[in-house]
Subunit: 649 residues, 2 copies
């Protein structure tokens, strides 16, 4: 297609007006004044979301044979106490010292410093090159054109590049050092405090069970690990997947769908042997080239990306292992397939302080949009953390038991008891003593061995009674054991998708305006995710078109192509324009010629070119176009060009 979709700069007001007018989404409870961070999806937004989700299910669950689960949102408190969310799932917030308004500390620092840099660029006479972005930021924090010392510019840029690497106290330090205030009031702000982002509730009629709404779906996978492993016939690696709602009580959500309090996630937990993180299908993707922003570059204050194959990135140890690399590629392929511009997609590695303490490596798929670079997918190696903590807390072993082909012979210290003597000496405490030594690790056994060599070692029962043991009760010696089962806690590679964010940037990437008609928006969504695939346009709502409309509609439905009829009382051109805004890739028109000759025209959204042919031939072509088995050039070969008298544009 020879359409120049970037002839005009992206106009955010025009884009937002389109989304609002066509009800892709809108603030929830709008007639009640709305609540920040909560949005409802209208018909095109819902369809787009359903299609993005269906494609996700196909790309990951079906093609990778994953085990889908659906766990609850409402979660009793002990689960998140164990997982660490109660203590650590929090953001740093500051309060305006006079008004008490609440701001997220890192966002405050970012907005103020970016505004100062924008003001600096303006003062230096670089205003002509000012980005749309800059204008917006300036407005948001009411900045002015003030030139900064060169050193300050460098310092601010360094801070911004590493912003995610700062702790709360460090953010407070930055506010003091650089006199960062609440831009709405110019008042100073308080020291950063932690605010837990989980919504709280209470389960049951007597308030006896405090509960949280899950902020991610992951714990549901971990808690069901044993059942999933059994379902998979005890084999590892395998992955579970879940698509579902999560909730985060954001401090002061702005940025539309990019920061919301309720959202749909899609998460994968791939369970893998910690000693073997190779992936069976890695060779299929080895040569895929990725745009990477690695940890070392960021820690040096930079943001330049590198392009390299995933094979090279894994070989060089930039990406920690094959499985992580494999998923990074699959994420890339999915995003591009649904219509994300690959030139505006990069994978950013987490810096040391940014990553959870237990994680081995983590890469975010970041997508550029009018708000900057936004994390839309995270892909982390969480090691064995989650399964270990839940296992320890509940006493339920979340492990893999692998039959070894050849038993391993190992040598280790072990206690052997003279049960008769022990029983006689300590009665019911004898059982406790034996269990205790059974649980001792190598160091503890070594210590006890040493003490016994000196004469005796003492243990304390749960009742506080001291039991003095001597060599007549037990001996501790190095012995050989044969092990035919290997038991281990698998590691977890977690790709985690924010579907609402992906939906939003997808809309931005596919929005443009026609050169000849700058006020007319078009959403060039790929057919695979477009809310409606084919628009059926009868010339008018007259009854004589009804049988044909019914026929075309029913034949498309049988071919699995989702269509809508627009027989509203307005011109065909206006109906097409409305559907350009809705992202409908194809339109077919039924007019008097259709009734007379059984012909139908086919219009392509981006080029507005039209073809004509027999009704059944057009249905066959449009079905292949929607299924992406042919492109528009091939359609032009199969059908005649239409230059009918009846102008429909």
């Amino acid at each position: 297609m020879s359409v120049n979709k970037t002839a005009h700069a992206f106009s955010k007001p025009q884009f937002e007006a389109l989304l609002n007018r066509r009800f892709f989404y809108a603030p929830a409870f709008e007639i009640y004044g709305g609540v920040a961070g909560l949005y409802d999806y209208g018909p095109p937004g819902s369809s787009l979301q359903a299609n993005i989700t269906a494609e996700w299910r196909k790309h990951f669950i079906v093609e990778e044979n994953m085990l889908e689960i659906d766990s609850t949102v409402m979660t009793p408190a002990p689960v998140f106490e164990t997982s660490g969310h109660v203590a650590r799932f929090a953001d740093w917030m500051v309060k305006d010292t006079k008004t008490g308004d609440v701001l997220r500390a890192d966002h405050l620092v970012k907005n103020v410093l970016e505004a100062r840099l924008a003001g600096d660029r303006e003062a230096r006479g670089l205003a002509a090159h000012m980005k749309e972005d800059d204008k917006k930021k300036k407005k948001k924090v009411k900045s002015v054109a003030v030139q900064l010392p060169d050193e300050a510019v460098k310092e601010y840029e360094r801070i911004l590049a590493q912003l995610d690497n700062h702790s709360g106290p460090q953010l407070g330090e930055l506010c003091r050092e650089h006199d960062i205030r609440n831009p709405d009031t110019t008042n100073e702000v308080s020291e950063p405090q932690l605010f837990n982002l989980m919504f709280t509730s209470s389960i049951g009629p007597t308030g006896q069970h405090p509960g949280y709404l899950r902020p991610e779906t992951a714990q549901g996978h971990f808690l069901n690990f044993s059942r999933l492993l059994e379902f998979n016939n005890g084999r590892v690696p395998f992955a579970s997947a879940q698509i579902g709602r999560s909730f985060r009580n954001e401090i002061s959500p702005r940025a539309g769908l990019l920061r919301v309090r309720e959202f749909t996630m899609a998460e994968i937990e791939h369970f893998v042997d910690p000693t073997d993180k190779r992936h069976a299908r890695f060779n299929e993707v080895r040569d895929v080239i990725l745009t990477l922003l690695d940890r070392t570059v960021q820690e040096a204050g930079g943001s330049q990306v590198t392009k390299m194959t995933v094979g090279e990135a894994v070989d060089k140890g930039i990406i920690a292992n094959e499985t992580l690399g494999y998923f990074v590629v699959r994420i890339y392929q999915y995003l591009v397939k649904i219509g994300i511009n690959p030139a505006r997609l990069r994978f950013r590695q987490h810096m040391a302080n940014e990553m959870a303490h237990y994680a081995t490596d983590c890469w975010d798929a970041e997508i550029e949009n009018s708000y900057g670079w936004t994390e839309c997918v995270g892909c982390a190696d969480r090691a064995a953390y989650d399964l270990s903590v839940h296992s320890k807390k509940t006493g339920h072993p979340l492990v893999v038991r692998q039959a070894l082909k050849e038993p391993i012979v190992i040598e280790k210290l072990a206690a052997e008891f003279n049960k008769k003597v022990l029983g006689k000496a300590f009665g019911k405490d004898a059982g406790f003593v034996m269990k205790l030594f059974d649980e001792y690790d190598e160091a503890q056994l070594l210590k006890a061995q040493g003490e016994l060599a000196q004469g005796s070692t003492t243990v304390v029962t749960p009742e506080g009674k001291e039991v003095k043991l001597s060599p007549e009760h037990l001996t501790i010696e190095r012995k050989t054991f044969k092990q035919s089962i290997r038991e281990y806690t698998p590691n977890v590679i977690e790709p985690s998708f924010g579907l609402g964010r992906i939906l939003y940037v997808l809309l931005e990437h596919n929005f443009w305006a026609r050169e000849q008609d700058i006020d007319r928006g078009v959403l060039s969504l790929p057919a695979v995710v477009a809310p409606t695939k084919v628009l059926i346009v009868p010339l008018s709502a007259k009854e004589e078109f009804d049988p044909l409309v019914q026929e075309v509609s029913s034949k498309l439905r049988k071919a699995g192509v989702f269509s809508r009829v627009d027989d509203s009382n307005t011109s065909i051109g206006k109906r097409y324009a409305r559907n350009d805004e809705l992202g409908t890739p194809f339109g077919v028109t039924l007019d008097f010629a259709s009734v007379a000759n059984r012909t139908m025209t086919l219009r392509e959204r981006d080029t507005t070119e039209q073809l004509i042919g027999d009704i059944d031939a057009v249905i066959a072509v449009v079905t292949e176009l929607v299924d992406d088995t042919i492109g528009w050039p091939e359609a032009c070969r199969r059908l005649r060009a239409y230059d009918g008298v009846q102008a429909v544009e």
Copy 2:
């Protein structure tokens, strides 16, 4: 198919063991001890749910051209204050007067009286006829075989038939009158108190916005009404639809998936002209026969159903209108299509006290299962209630404005002011006076007219000032008006589906055991909802089968048929047995003959019959079987019967 699936009585323990073993679903947070009323779906349960949902979307949203939306779960309190949920979305609970245990009042009455009736049947020597059901109830409340007076039996039966018709105080009265106590402790119970079933939370960091988790998705439709109407080009009737999670903090949930605290609903709000509730497609369904349990039968204490066509039911006024009748049929068709046994499905009309005060008519689709008759879908005519209350509260008009073909001329009282005199006399209050009379209804105007005839009428300003008006200020007379726009609040017909309940009864209806192997469960799920459509079974995991497995797998995927490979290290018979339990309708086997001759066997789950043919021929047949364009007898005509040496059962 000549399989007798009802040869053996339904065994609940065997059924539940299957669901648990194959991880259809399990208590959420099981390793933490679980929480009543919260369940996680495992892989087959998730797939089944996804398929039920996909079929729902096709049957309702696509075929009826509905507008899908996706609104938030988290809802600020004012919305539910207006809708009436804060005051009335509650159940009556009683407390054990000694232990403080909480019970739902209506369930308590039901369980105790049913147990007494069961004990009575046993005492009367009807024990041989005791239903499975009775045994269960007896056990639950520790009842004993005690014969009741004949009158008590009648009285209890009358109470049970009308249980849903009782208010809280009436339930309390029943407890006292019939000495109904907590069966677990034999202690008396307190007077019933209302307990609100909504989960509460708080939105934002400062706790300034109390919020609720929605207990149904409906309010999201109503609040977006204006946007939806505009999206539909201002036309009525139209329907919005939503599939999403809802939450109810049930008092003491039991009965597995039938009473849970978090569940997936699918709701339709069909907006219709209150003066015209006909439905354009009613004639297509007029002759469908329904099983109805109407209001009058229940109010007379009975439970006998009537079979009649929906046309007759609407004509006789048993079902209130065509649109309601149309949806009852569509609900019926959907349930039967996904595999509900129509002989165990009835539509029960709500009794007067049971229905919300604003509703015109309401029918529940009730499905029989081992817990009794369970409401799985509600279908109510909610009149204009919801739109009216939100409109009144917010001042945002939720109305349809319909251009009339011919203007209507109406005559009504109207006030005409002498603005000059009025302005002079009352200054800035003149505006208030005019606005006030503009809002007066007919009765108020009539009263003022009478007072003016007597000399004067007085109104009070918001500041409390009395304004005395005389005929020099205004006249009130009957005038004719021409109206070219009709403005009205649409009525709402609401079909509301509990997908988890449907999923559960669907599993019960399709569970059976083979006569020759009573311990072996089979789930005869229709292909349209079966979690996996085709099982691919290589003789072993040997590498020589890999290319064929890949080929069959990929060809099925291209044909849109979801398959799974089972190459686990166990006999083919065991692998088929596992998939009978998972409800997989077809299996194909690849063995040495396949490698040599490119043939493949095809097995049908219910009959266990096997056919054989070329790989591509088998793929073509199984695709048609899954799409339900052919049945098994036709498959038997197209492929040869298989009676191979290699017994696979």
